[in-house]
Each structure stands twice: as structure tokens, then as C-alpha cells.
């Protein structure tokens, strides 16, 4: 049975048979790509970005920037582009009709069938996607760093990535994910987007969203699941290391705060753009393709600094609701109330003067000061695992350092073509 993804279009994996691949790429020019592009090749080939079949051409980029739609009318909020310098275009003889091989970690990764080479005004792209042209916005900085021209065309994976430990069980592409949901008997699945080690505020966000999504369903069997979908991509110094993020999210299930019957952890390769509302729409698309029915959106979803209002993402999502096959679940903040003696929702508790708010940043500061937070705020199993990850993967720190950036084991590599 066909699996239908975003835009009502069937999800089709663009992955070539390895035997056929060797022959098909013989003699083609090879272009090494950076990690952002490799992440996006995976996104396209496995259907995370369905209905995209490749890097966008000018009509798609223009449609996305001007109307938040692809040229075929399907809702899309962030350009997915392949950039090249004029020198590279000349060197590799890139022109419509050309076929080249994209390589990553020195091995062939994907066939790129060039359809178009074009220019696009980067300031216009920034203004349209990020609502600002300021170079200090990380999404704008990424856009301004793009080279001279963009190349549009279809992508087909010729060599599957080898996902390194400890990430391998968490790489679950859309078609496989949908199968797992069916096996679990989940009728509804709510997405938790994260780049964080979970504190109990996050845990209760998930639990609250699970209850919201459950609604009128019968309770004789577990019909609703939470999918933690961690974004794994470019790291900034001071972030939690990726290993700590993915393993601690799963630890909530392993330690019984959730269970197999209602919780699953996975990852998506993507370099965050911090596009706030536009990124929220992108996340909704991504998780639709993964087979989810609901998606949590909290305060300032995927925002940065003061570029977006706290609920701008909710407003934009409401405006495009009919184009999305996923239901947004809007989440209020959870906090600690000493009067209640528990973590509670700001929508429930009325001891407002006594509220003690906490955030991921605050928890990081506590951990930095060498203090183990109380279990009501940060689960002890999660804390212990963070510390274990610091030793095992973080060169002594649970946070990204220069040493981690230089020496970490890559999340995935492309193996030699067998």
C-alpha cells in the first residue's frame, strides 16, 4: 500500500540498488560535499523531505520565498538548495543535463542529475524566510555563506550512510517509521522536536501533549505514542553533545518515565536554520512524512534571540492548517510550584507568585556548577547518563567544546561502494 506523505503525494525512496549504482556512476565527475548538503541528501533520498526529489530549482525557490509554496502548489517554507562557486561550476562542467556524483567522507554518496543552474538574491531569500536580512541571524549567516550560484536537480542515493554508534538504532526513515507505528498499534503519534537533554519540563510537555492527542480514543490499549525526533546537525560550542541528547531522551523510556507502549526516540539529520515560524512549518512537513498525526509546538518554536514573537509559529501554522496533514498541539510551559510541590502547567496552577520557572539553560548552569539537580527537575538517570556521555564521548564535558568538534566520531559516514 502506498504511503502518502506531505502534500498528499506518495513517499518514494530515491535509493539505487548498489549493484546498479556502481555501473551508473562509472566515469562521472565526483564532487565532494559538506555535512549540511549530506544531511539534506539523506533528507531527500529517504523521503523525510517528500515530495522533494532533489535540490530546488529557481521556480521552487521563488515560490517558497514569495508564497511559501513549491511550484506545484504544495506548501513548503524553507529553500533546500545546492550551492556552487563559479569556479566549481566551470571545473565540474555543471550545466543542465549533466550527471555528477556527490561524495561524502571520500566515497560516492548520490547521483545528482543537474536540471538548472541559477542565481538568487540572498537578501531577498533571508527576508522571505527569516523575516530579517541581518547577518547575525544564524539562518541569514548560512544563506550569505552560500556560494555564487544554485544548482537544481534530482538526487538518488547510490550508497547508504553507515550510522555510527550510538546513533544507529535512532535513524528510522519515514517508510520504516510508519511500519513501526503500525506494529505498535498507534493510531495517533505526537512529535516532540528537540535539540536538548530532557529536564522534567520537557518530560511534562510530552506527557501533556500525549494527553491532548489521546482525546476521545478508547483506553483499552495504548493507542497514542510520543515520538522524540531529535535534530542532529551542525553543533555550536556550549550545546549538549549529540550523544547525550539522543541517549538521554531514550533514557526516559528505559527508566520507566515512559514505556515501549507510548514512547520512541529517533533522529533527523538537519542543520537548524532558526527560522522560527517558517521552521515550525518545515518541522510539521518533516513529521508528516514520518507518519505522525500530531506535532507539539511550544513557545518560540525554533526561534533565536528576539526575532520572533513567542507565538508567531502558532499563528503561521493556523494560517496553513488546511495544507498540513498533521495537527498542531500547542503546549504551555511547565514549571515548578513549591506550593503544589510538583512540576505543573502554567495553564493549571494559580500560585503565580510562587512559581519557579526553569529552562534548559538554567539546568545547564546548575550542571556547570557541579550540582546534581533534584529528581523533580531533572531525572537522576538522565543526569547520570549525561555525566557518562561526558566521559565516554565528550572528552570530559557534556557540552560541545573545540576538542569535541575536532575529535568526535562522526554521526555517519559513507562507506566505500561495495
Amino acid at each position: 500500500m502506498a504511503e502518502i506523505g506531505h502534500g498528499g503525494i506518495e513517499i518514494v525512496e530515491r535509493i539505487m540498488d548498489p549493484k546498479e549504482a556502481k555501473e551508473k556512476i562509472k566515469g562521472l565527475k565526483q564532487i565532494p560535499i559538506r555535512s549540511q548538503i549530506a544531511n539534506e541528501v539523506i533528507g531527500i533520498a529517504y523521503g523525510f523531505f517528500s515530495p522533494l526529489q532533489g535540490f530546488m530549482g529557481k521556480a521552487d525557490v521563488d515560490g517558497v520565498c514569495k508564497n511559501m509554496r513549491l511550484s506545484n502548489g504544495v506548501l513548503w517554507s524553507i529553500p533546500i538548495v545546492f550551492d556552487m562557486s563559479n569556479e566549481e561550476i566551470a571545473q565540474y562542467d555543471i550545466k543542465p543535463g549533466a550527471k555528477v556524483v556527490l561524495t561524502y567522507t571520500d566515497n560516492p554518496m548520490a547521483l545528482f542529475e543537474v536540471e538548472e543552474v541559477f542565481e538568487y538574491n540572498k537578501e531577498e531569500m533571508c527576508q522571505a524566510v527569516y523575516g530579517t536580512k541581518e547577518a547575525k541571524h544564524p539562518g541569514c549567516a548560512r544563506t550569505y555563506a552560500y556560494k555564487d550560484k544554485f544548482v537544481g536537480g534530482k538526487i538518488t542515493l547510490v550508497n547508504k550512510p553507515k550510522i555510527n554508534p550510538p546513533y544507529e538504532p535512532y535513524f528510522i526513515p519515514p517508510l520504516q517509521m510508519r511500519k513501526i507505528f503500525k506494529e505498535k498499534g498507534w493510531k495517533r503519534v505526537v512529535a516532540h522536536q528537540t535539540r536538548n537533554v530532557p529536564h522534567t519540563g520537557h518530560e511534562w510537555l510530552m506527557k501533556g501533549a500525549w494527553l491532548q492527542a489521546y482525546g476521545e480514543l478508547p483506553i483499552d490499549k495504548p493507542y497514542v505514542g510520543v515520538l522524540v525526533n531529535a535534530i542532529i546537525g551542525e553543533k555550536r560550542k556550549g550545546d549538549y553533545i549529540d550523544e547525550a541528547i539522543i541517549l538521554t531522551q531514550d533514557e526516559l523510556r528505559k527508566s520507566g518515565y515512559f514505556g515501549d507502549h507510548n514512547h520512541l526516540t529517533s533522529l533527523t539529520f538537519w542543520d537548524m536554520r532558526y527560522a522560527g515560524p517558517k521552521e515550525a512549518v518545515f518541522h510539521a512537513i518533516l513529521r508528516t512524512n514520518l507518519g505522525l498525526t500530531h506535532h507539539m509546538f511550544g513557545r518560540d518554536h525554533a526561534g533565536v534571540g528576539t526575532y520572533y514573537g513567542p507565538y508567531d509559529a502558532h499563528i503561521l501554522l493556523e494560517s496553513v492548517k488546511k495544507d498540513l496533514a498533521i495537527t498542531p498541539v500547542y503546549s504551555m510551559n511547565w514549571l515548578y510550584c513549591p506550593h503544589c510541590g510538583e512540576v505543573t502547567s502554567e495553564g493549571l496552577c494559580n500560585h503565580k507568585k510562587e512559581w519557579q520557572k526553569f529552562s534548559g539553560t538554567l539546568i545547564r548552569s546548575i550542571v556547570d556548577d557541579g550540582v546534581k539537580p533534584p529528581r523533580l527537575i531533572f531525572r537522576p538517570e538522565v543526569f547520570d547518563l549525561v555525566m557518562e556521555c561526558a566521559e565516554k564521548y565528550g572528552f570530559g564535558s557534556p557540552f560541545v567544546t573545540d576538542e569535541y568538534l575536532q575529535k568526535r566520531t562522526p554521526v555517519f559516514v559513507i562507506p566505500p561502494l561495495g
Binding site: 560550542k237 556550549g238 513557545r299 518560540d300 528576539t306 513567542p310 510551559n333 515548578y336 513549591p338 510541590g341 519557579q356 520557572k357 526553569f358 529552562s359 539553560t361 538554567l362 545547564r364 548552569s365 546548575i366 556547570d368 556548577d369 557541579g370 550540582v371 539537580p373 533534584p374 523533580l376 527537575i377
Partner: protein, 99 residues
């Protein structure tokens, strides 16, 4: 209108608590978040900006806690030592002129 003040949370670990007890200052700690001991050192707007500029890893949590977080541990230790020496949380002017 009262001037806005932004806390730097100096979380009190065992080592810091021992120092406070020795100096007879254990009562300076507030207890928050279900049992965490903290000393809050308040910065005004100007001091907040100066601290954030001086220590680029630090972050002002504008969305949730309105506090200055992620100062390096060494810097927190220096602030903490000043609090103990001066027996006061009003130490930021001295801290900023000294370090």
C-alpha cells in the same frame, strides 16, 4: 519605577556550602526548585550588558528565567568567593573592576 535587576544564580554545591558554613553564611542561601541551594547575585542593566560582553559563553535567559546563566565555573567561583569575603551579595561592581 524600580530598576530592573537580573540574577546570576550561583548554585551551591557541597564545596561552596562548606565554605558558607565555615563563614557563618549558610543562611544566605535560598532554596529553590525542590531543594536546590542558590545564592542570587543581582546585576543591573549596565552590569548585565558588561558581563555578557566580557564572557561570550554567558547567556541571558530572556524567555524563561530572566537570569544570567552559563558563566564559566571559574567566574562563578570568583563571584562566590567575593560574596563570602564581603558577606554580601552586592559584589558585582567590585567583581567587574577586579576581573
Amino acid at each position: 519605577m524600580a530598576e530592573e535587576k537580573y540574577p546570576i544564580n550561583v548554585w551551591v554545591n557541597e564545596e561552596r556550602y562548606e565554605k558558607l558554613q565555615k563563614a557563618g553564611l549558610a543562611g544566605m542561601c535560598e532554596e529553590v526548585l525542590a531543594g536546590l541551594k542558590v545564592i542570587k547575585v543581582y546585576a543591573n542593566e549596565k552590569q548585565k550588558d558588561e558581563i555578557l560582553k566580557k564572557y561570550p559563553t554567558a547567556k541571558f535567559d530572556s524567555a524563561t528565567t530572566k537570569s544570567i546563566e552559563l558563566l564559566p565555573r571559574k567566574v562563578k567561583d570568583q563571584i562566590f568567593d567575593l560574596v563570602v569575603t564581603k558577606q554580601s551579595v552586592d559584589v558585582l561592581d567590585e567583581f567587574l573592576s577586579k576581573y
